[in-house]
Symmetry: C2
Subunit: 244 residues, 2 copies
């Protein structure tokens, strides 16, 4: 066996377990010293160093001579996958979400938008850069049916999730959303908008939310910074009783 | 407004809608010509070209002079998020999953593994490179309680999902799994193993599966190639009746 290859495999293995500890607050700010980690994981100091390098490259930890290894200042926040939640709702324990509205306009939608929203005529397009505690977290491109979207144009989009506003307009809760989750690399312009590096990993979510009567009203394309957010949920082995 | 910035915003907007069409088979192999797309999206040819460049960088489409724009040969496959599914189960319509077992051994687990599996003593560690139709799709690092893992070491791991094998051993279905989904960049070694480029976006999943009596038995760290897989599911606005 090639020794270097083996060490890289071991480093990945250790990195995954350290990632878990860091993400779930298993450590305070300060991580244990390398020799303590080497003992804990039954690995060489070189393997531990390589594992820490992997997590540093992800932006999860910071390493400073003299200070040692600490969790990143900003850290990752968890987005609930257990039910349909807006960003401010799911992150209310983690700080304040403030939205910069980059665009808000009535448009003649391309066919794919009309089909998904089951509408003819114009729709409302809203583009928001969303910050948590002042740091960019996501860039959201939103298409809304005109009847739901137009009242929204006078609402306070800076401090509110679209979901809450839509429920106020509809006078009843939203129903179900279909979602697709992908990992993509940040193109240069998106990276600049999100304040991250070119090629950084992003969690890309496409989500179509329906009113409780099944009518689709809100089509979103969301890019989350991969270094700032995780998604967390549960799955059952037997089919969940989805209403769809 | 800066014209270049505006075009990049418009190109992202078009790219997201094109991505949707490509992922859900809205086009055959061949995409419409640039001028037809320009008309469809009410955008300039330059914007369309920039949008197509974004999707080409993601590996979703291919562009050849004379041939035009086609969807990528391999394409992305959807992993169901509606219930707890093994890879071969969820992809059975998309081809054959074959697993290369890179490591399979009893280990003295680090504390974090013992805690999550609520076990003392040794656990079984299995590392698999999983291919769909011969092309690498994911790298899975798996920790199993010894009682469930040891019988698995004699089973056909090359052609079976661990879930199915575990259910055979336990004599009953699995229950619930907790999962965390992240986007991370591929480190050089992982990229080489998965046959992708350094820094490529990966969907990283940590998943702890329990037997139906609630005992945790299977802790996995999974790296999916972002250019080959999406996750798809539904969310309800009102709380789903999770058993946890």
């Amino acid at each position: 066996m090639d020794g270097r290859r083996l060490r890289a495999d071991r480093a990945r293995q250790v990195a995954d377990l350290l990632r878990r500890e860091v993400l779930h607050g298993g450590y305070d700010r300060q991580l244990p010293l390398e020799h303590a980690l080497a003992r804990e994981f039954g690995a060489s100091r070189n393997t531990i160093r390589e594992a820490l390098d992997l997590l540093r490259a992800e932006g999860l930890i910071e390493r400073c001579p003299g200070v040692g290894t600490t969790t990143a200042t900003e850290g990752k926040v968890p987005h609930g996958l257990h039910r349909l939640l807006g960003l401010a709702e799911t992150l209310h324990e983690h700080g304040e979400v403030v939205n910069e509205v980059r665009s808000m306009t009535l448009i003649d939608p391309p066919g794919v938008v009309s089909e998904r929203l089951r509408t003819t005529g114009q729709v409302v397009y809203i583009e928001r850069l969303r910050r948590l505690n002042g740091v960019p977290l996501s860039l959201d491109l939103t298409y809304l049916t005109r009847d739901m979207g137009e009242p929204l144009m006078d609402a306070d989009l800076v401090h509110n999730d679209v979901f809450i506003l839509l429920e106020g307009i509809a006078g009843r809760p939203l129903g179900t959303a279909e979602l697709t989750i992908e990992a993509v690399s940040a193109d240069p312009h998106t990276a600049a908008v999100l304040g991250t590096t070119r090629g950084a990993a992003l969690l890309m979510v496409e989500r179509l939310a329906h009113l409780s009567d099944g009518r689709p009203v809100d089509l979103e394309f969301i890019r989350f910074r991969g270094d700032r957010l995780t998604m967390r949920g549960h799955l059952n082995r037997t089919e969940n009783p989805w209403p769809s």
